[in-house]
C-alpha cells in the first residue's frame, strides 16, 4: 500500500509542478495580441476591424471568436479575452461577478443596430406592428392568413438564450411575454438567415447587417429598417452594439488604438459598409 501512496504523491507533485509552470502567466492583456470573443452580431464589425488593424500593424495578432454575447461577458469576467463583443448591455449579475473578480467592464458603443424582422421574400406580408410581432412569438397569431398572407402556418425562428439579440428582442418586442414553446432556437444570425432563406413560412430576427437581399426585412410600425431610421430612433427595434473592455485601455496600447477605431472616419466607413449604423457621422 505504501508504494501506491508513493505513486499518488509523485503524480500529485507532477500535476502541481506542471500547473505552476503554466499558471504563472499574466492575464489576457498582452502587448502584441488582442483577443476578442462574444456576439455573433458584432462579429462582422470585429472581424473587419481586425483585418484593417492587422494590415496597419503587421506585428499584431487580433483573433475574433463568435460565441454569443453571454459567452463574451463570461470570457471577459474570467480574464480570457481583451474585448467582449456584446449586442446587449451587461447584466447586473455579470457586473457583480466581474467586479468580484477585479474586472471593471467599460462599455464602448461601436455601432447602432436595428433588429430586422425577416421573412422569406415570397411572403406577401410587407409590414407588421410591434404588437403583431409579439403576438406571433407568443403564439397568439399562428397563420400568415391572420396577417393578410396565405393560409400557411408560421414557422418561428429565434436566437438561443445566450444571444444578445435574443435579449434585446425580448426587451424591445416581447415586453416580458414568453416566447411560445414551438419556436425553433438557433445559434447565430447567419443560421437564422439560412433557416428563413430556405423556409417560405418562416419568420426570424437578425442584426441589420445580416438582412441581405436573400430575405425580406419587414417594416415595423410602417418604418423600414435602414441607416436613417435606425440612427434617428424612428425604427422601433433598435439597440446599440457594444465592445466591453476591462477598464479603459492603457493609452498608446494596441488595445486602445483598436477600441477607438470606430471613432474615426475609416472605422465608421467599415461599420457602414458591413451594413450597420455608425454612432456618429463624419
Amino acid at each position: 500500500m505504501s508504494r501506491m501512496k508513493h505513486t499518488i504523491a509523485i503524480t500529485l507533485a507532477a500535476v502541481v509542478l506542471v500547473a505552476g509552470l503554466f499558471g504563472a502567466g499574466p492575464a489576457a492583456a498582452q502587448a502584441n495580441r488582442i483577443i476578442i470573443d462574444g456576439s455573433t452580431t458584432v462579429g462582422p464589425i470585429a472581424k473587419a476591424f481586425a483585418e484593417y488593424y492587422m494590415q496597419k500593424n503587421p506585428g499584431v495578432n487580433v483573433t475574433v471568436s463568435e460565441s454569443g454575447s453571454g459567452n463574451g461577458a463570461k470570457a471577459l469576467v474570467n480574464g480570457m479575452c481583451d474585448i467582449a463583443d456584446m449586442s446587449r448591455f451587461m447584466k447586473d449579475e455579470e457586473f457583480k461577478a466581474a467586479v468580484a473578480k477585479g474586472v471593471f467592464p467599460v462599455a464602448h458603443v461601436v455601432a447602432v443596430d436595428g433588429i430586422a424582422i425577416i421573412v422569406h421574400p415570397s411572403n406577401p406580408v410587407t409590414g407588421l406592428t410591434v404588437e403583431q410581432v409579439r403576438d406571433i412569438y407568443t403564439g397568439k397569431i399562428t397563420s400568415w392568413k391572420q396577417l393578410g398572407g396565405p393560409d400557411v402556418k408560421i414557422v418561428l425562428i429565434s436566437r438561443d438564450t445566450n444571444s444578445g439579440t435574443y435579449e434585446s428582442f425580448e426587451e424591445l418586442v416581447m415586453n416580458k411575454a414568453k416566447i411560445v414553446a414551438t419556436a425553433e432556437y438557433v445559434g447565430s444570425n447567419g443560421a437564422i438567415r439560412q433557416r428563413v432563406q430556405s423556409t417560405p413560412a418562416a419568420i426570424g430576427y437578425v442584426g441589420l447587417g445580416f438582412a441581405d437581399r436573400t430575405v425580406k426585412a419587414l417594416k415595423i410600425n410602417n418604418v423600414a429598417p435602414d441607416n436613417a431610421t435606425v440612427s434617428s430612433g424612428v425604427y422601433p427595434v433598435a439597440r446599440p452594439l457594444y465592445m466591453f473592455t476591462n477598464g479603459y485601455p492603457k493609452l498608446g496600447s494596441h488595445l486602445h488604438a483598436f477600441i477607438t477605431l470606430y471613432l474615426g472616419p475609416k472605422g465608421q466607413e467599415i461599420v457602414e459598409e458591413i451594413g450597420f449604423v455608425p454612432v456618429t457621422k463624419y
Partner: protein, 448 residues
C-alpha cells in the same frame, strides 16, 4: 435444422452482409462525390482579371506587365458601362425633381451591383474594406451578379392562397429610353471582355493567408492550426497512453481495482466530445490557467484527453497480442522485465500501437466540439510555434462550421467552405492511409 433451410439461412445471411457492404460503399460515394466535386472549386476555377489583380497586389504574384496590360484591356471594355452611368447621372441632374426621385433608388442599386461585379468605379476613392476593393474574382460568382444586374427578381403575390412566385423581369425595362439603357446590352455582350475569365489553378489556396475574414485568399491559418492541435494532442496523449497501456498489460494483473480502471477508460471513450470541451475550458483554462485565454495548448490538452482512452485500449491490445514466447525467450536470456518490454515486446507491438496513434490523430484533427471553448477562433493569423502556448488559432473543423452558419457573407464564399471540407477530409483520409501503409511496412520488417 434440416440441411435445406440451413442453406437458405446461410445464403440470406451472406446476402444481408453483401447488401450492407454495398450500402456503405454507396453512402461513401454519395458523401464523398459532392465533397470532391464542390471542394475542387476552391482550387480550380475560372479566375477573372480581378483575381489576378488581387494576387498581384496582395501576394505579389504574377507578371506585373502582363496584368497591367490585361487591366487596360478590361478597362477599355468597361468604358461604355461607366460612360452610360455618367451620361445617365448628368441627365438626372437636369431632370425634374419627380423623375429624379423616381429613379434614385433604382439607379443606386444598379451602381452598387456594377461595383460588386467590376470593382470600384475608376476615379473613385479606394474603399476601406478589401472585399469592396475588387470586383468578382471568380467567373461563377460573376455570372450570378451579372444575372442580378440584368434581371430584377420579384415575387408575384396575385394568388392570395399561396406564397408568392418568383418572377424575373429584365431590369432594362425600368430604364427603357434613358441614357442608361445601353449599359445592360453592353454588360450582357461584353462581360467576358470586362472580366477576362481564365481557368486558374489555385493550389496555393492551402498555403495562403486569408483576407477580409475568408472572403479572399486561402486557408493556411486553419490548416496550420489543425496541424498544431493534432500534433499537440499526440505529444500529450501518446507517451501517457503507451505507458498506461504497458502498465495495464504487463504490470497491473487482474485485481478488482484494475478492472474498474479498465471500465473507467472504456466509459471515458464514450463521453461526448462537447463534454470534453467544457471540461477543458473549466479545468485547463479557468482552473489550471495553462494559458491566459483560449490557446492551442489548452485545445491540445483537451483533445489529448479525448483520444487517450483509444490510444490506451488499442495499445494495450497490441501489447497483449505479442506472443508470450517472445517475453519468455527474453527473460530466459536474463533480461529484466523492463528490458524485455522495451527491447522485445514494444517493438513487436509497434504496428498496432502506431495504427492507433495515427487513427487517433485523424480524430483529433477532425474534432470540433472540444476546441470550440478551448482553442478555436473565427479569425486569426497563422501562429509561430512558441505562440501556440498562449494564443488561440483558427482550425479547419471549427471554421467550416463558422463559415456554414455564422459568416455574414455565407453565400458568396461557399467555395472557401467547400475547399476547407475537402482539405479536412483528404487530411483525415491521408492519415488513415498512412496508418495502413506504416502498419504493413513495420510488420513486414519485424517479420524479417
Amino acid at each position: 435444422m434440416d440441411p435445406g433451410s440451413r442453406k437458405t439461412f446461410d445464403r440470406s445471411f451472406t446476402a444481408v452482409g453483401y447488401f450492407s457492404i454495398a450500402l456503405m460503399a454507396a453512402a461513401l460515394v454519395v458523401l464523398l462525390m459532392p465533397i470532391f466535386a464542390k471542394g475542387s472549386g476552391a482550387f480550380v476555377f475560372r479566375g477573372t482579371v480581378e483575381n489576378r489583380r488581387l494576387m498581384l497586389e496582395k501576394f505579389g504574384r504574377g507578371d506585373r506587365a502582363a496584368i497591367e496590360a490585361e487591366k487596360a484591356a478590361a478597362a477599355a471594355a468597361r468604358a461604355p458601362v461607366y460612360e452610360a452611368i455618367a451620361r445617365f447621372e448628368a441627365a438626372l441632374d437636369t431632370a425634374d425633381a419627380e423623375d429624379r426621385r423616381g429613379y434614385r433608388s433604382d439607379f443606386r442599386e444598379v451602381r452598387e451591383l456594377v461595383a460588386e461585379l467590376l470593382g470600384p468605379a475608376p476615379g473613385r476613392q479606394t474603399p476601406v474594406l478589401i472585399r469592396d476593393q475588387y470586383g468578382q474574382t471568380r467567373w461563377d460568382r460573376a455570372s450570378v451578379v451579372l444575372h442580378r444586374i440584368l434581371y430584377v427578381e420579384d415575387y408575384d403575390y396575385s394568388d392570395a392562397t399561396k406564397m408568392g412566385v418568383k418572377v424575373a423581369t429584365p431590369r432594362v425595362e425600368r430604364f427603357r429610353g434613358t441614357a442608361l439603357e445601353p449599359l445592360f446590352g453592353v454588360l450582357e455582350r461584353d462581360a467576358r471582355a470586362m472580366l477576362r475569365p481564365r481557368t486558374t489553378f489555385y493550389w496555393r489556396f492551402l498555403f495562403d493567408q486569408s483576407f477580409d475574414a475568408h472572403i479572399f485568399g486561402g486557408i493556411w491559418p486553419e490548416l496550420l492550426g489543425t496541424f498544431y492541435l493534432a500534433v499537440g494532442a499526440m505529444l500529450f496523449a501518446v507517451p501517457l497512453g503507451i505507458v498506461a497501456a504497458i502498465y495495464l498489460a504487463e504490470y497491473a494483473g487482474e485485481s478488482a481495482f484494475v478492472s474498474m480502471l479498465r471500465t473507467c477508460i472504456s466509459s471515458l471513450a464514450g463521453v461526448p466530445s462537447i463534454v470534453f470541451g467544457l471540461f477543458g475550458l473549466a479545468f485547463f483554462i479557468n482552473t489550471l490557467r495553462v494559458s491566459p485565454s483560449k490557446s492551442v495548448l489548452a485545445g491540445s490538452l483537451t483533445l489529448a484527453l479525448l483520444i487517450l482512452p483509444t490510444v490506451i485500449r488499442a495499445s494495450e491490445e497490441a501489447i497483449k497480442s505479442v506472443p508470450v514466447a517472445y517475453k519468455e525467450a527474453a527473460m530466459s536470456l536474463g533480461a529484466s522485465r523492463w528490458r524485455s518490454i522495451v527491447t522485445v515486446i514494444l517493438p513487436a507491438a509497434l504496428p498496432g500501437v502506431l495504427t492507433s496513434v495515427i487513427i487517433s490523430m485523424g480524430r483529433a484533427a477532425g474534432e470540433t466540439a472540444p476546441i470550440i471553448f478551448t482553442a478555436a477562433v473565427s479569425v486569426g493569423k497563422p501562429l509561430a510555434i512558441w505562440q501556440t502556448l498562449s494564443q488561440p488559432t483558427p482550425a479547419l473543423p471549427w471554421n467550416i462550421y463558422n463559415l456554414a452558419t455564422e459568416h455574414e457573407a455565407v453565400d458568396e464564399i461557399r467555395h472557401v467552405q467547400y475547399g476547407m471540407v475537402l482539405t479536412l477530409v483528404v487530411l483525415v483520409l491521408l492519415l488513415n492511409l498512412a496508418a495502413i501503409v506504416l502498419r504493413a511496412r513495420v510488420s513486414k520488417k519485424l517479420r524479417g
